[in-house]
């Protein structure tokens, strides 16, 4: 258990996984409850456009990704109130246009982009030291926002119309919620990449939902589940190559473990009997 911990990169990877699980637990709970999975997928894929822009402008691609994710979440949030029925199509467009812009920008930028795959599929093993601070900062921002606006977010997430009637600024709250989603996406990109982000935003909270009564319980439990998957994924890929000589990429392993847990949770729920849900 302790052997890989001697290496700074492994410690950094563990820390990155834990920080990511906080973001995915808190924001993911809203994503699952409010059924924003496809919006989150759209935002994360659109963030790839920002990665490409980063390459083109010669700045850190993560800064480009943050900008793109925030802009797209604002766009989706503004459109959401106006065109309910067309949302599905709009999300698909944002999703694909973001990816197309990313590829276009990368091919326009001079020189090489050999690390492109790591933005698509993540590279938790190679997170730079400055990422850990960056992710911790974003986590803090997410936690503070949720603590301050917990009641408001809960009202909007569970019953938008009721929230509207009771005089809450639903439009603004939705924008804030989507901004949180884009921050969580940015935290998770380094770990699992834009393509797989949506898995970590949905699976741990979906499992947690089986076993929690309140939203805070669900957030805490899904953060713990995300952390378990991240740690198990890292050790799993270490031990698999030690014992079976397999080079298993860590990000996908984390997600497959979460899927396995989800299956187990569904089975356990069936045996225990569904709680009033």
């Amino acid at each position: 258990m302790l052997e890989p911990l001697e290496f700074a990169f492994f410690q950094r990877a563990l820390l990155a996984g834990l920080l990511a699980s906080v973001a995915c637990g808190i924001v993911g709970s809203y994503v699952v409850v409010k059924r924003m999975a496809s919006m989150s997928g759209g935002i994360s894929h659109a963030a790839f456009g920002g990665v490409g822009l980063g390459y083109l402008l010669g700045i850190d691609p993560m800064i480009g990704a943050t900008g793109f994710a925030l802009a797209c979440s604002a766009g989706i949030g503004l459109a959401y109130r106006r065109l309910r029925s067309g949302m599905d199509t709009l999300i698909a467009m944002v999703w694909a246009v973001g990816m197309a812009l990313g590829i276009l920008f990368v091919s326009l930028s001079p020189g090489y982009a050999p690390d492109l795959m790591s933005y698509l599929f993540g590279s938790i093993l190679f997170v730079p030291a400055r990422y850990v601070g960056f992710a911790a900062g974003l986590d803090l921002l997410i936690v503070l926002t949720v603590v301050l606006l917990f009641k408001e977010f809960q009202a909007v997430a569970f019953d938008e119309e009721h929230a509207e009637v009771s005089g809450l600024p639903v439009g603004l709250l939705l924008l804030a919620l989507l901004a949180l989603v884009s921050l969580a996406v940015v935290v998770l990109i380094r770990v699992v990449g834009v393509i797989l982000v949506i898995a970590l935003l949905t699976m741990p909270p979906a499992i947690a939902r089986h076993w929690s009564r309140t939203l805070p319980q669900m957030m805490a439990l899904s953060s713990v589940l995300g952390a378990v998957c991240a740690v198990a994924g890292l050790y799993g890929s270490y031990w698999l190559s030690e014992l079976a000589d397999l080079n298993v990429p860590t990000g996908p392993l984390i997600i497959l473990l979460a899927a396995l847990l989800y299956g187990a949770s569904v089975a356990a729920r069936t045996v225990v009997g569904r709680r009033d849900g």
Partner: protein, 285 residues
Amino acid sequence: MADPLGRGWLAVTAFVLAALLACSAESVRRPAVVVSVLPQAWLVERLAGDLVTVEVMIPPGASHATYEPTMAQMRAVSRASLYVKVGHPAFPFERAWLDRLLRENSALVVVDASANIPQHPGDPHIWTSPDAMRQIASTVGNALADLLPDRRDELERNRTALIEEIATLDQELRRTLAGAEGRSFLVFHPAWGYFAEHYGLRQVAIEERGKEPGPLRLARLIEWARQEKVRAVLVQPQFSHMSAELIAREIGAELVTVDPLSRDWPASLRGAARAIADQAPAATN
């Protein structure tokens, strides 16, 4: 129905035909030689100078593992006279594309740059060894002499000068690497196997079966490199630097970018030799 081919059309057609003939006359004067990788382009330019035009299949910056030829390159191959292939069975580009390219032009003469060179299994980067480059110079020189029989003398002079240039570079690199025999160096993609063999060095690859290494391999490499006191980690621009950067940082070594696929072949070999020689334990150690 009016005659669509009036005098005006006739003139235009004649003009276009004349232009086409002029173009083909131009390409008859300067036969095109196609090579797979940039160091071969350097070699053909040294051997043939302006007597031929050189078309490179894998452009600067592209990876020879994943590159696909463009439409313009397919056209160039169909008009070329000579194809210099790397000729190693483990070279992915030629494995995937050479047959398809050759189908475009049945008159194309193919010369195998690997001829008479002892090959390492799985490592196609034969041009990183000066010895191999000398052999390639003579193989390709013969093919060019067959292609341009009336320029034999000029080609022969160029070949002698090139072999001289390679020998001088080899002497220089031996001086650079004096005292470094038996030393190990880390490299992300193992492109320097022939170079290492030629100068008695030991190349250790970071990549794991062509992919980014997993956590266990990273850990083992870091341990090993600390023991060996490896001071330089080589990367090439075509591949991801993340794992190499990580290892270099952990062991306090310098990350050096050297491109084994550079068109400036001597500079590329010099870069590798200097990077490896610099890892000599400093006097303060």
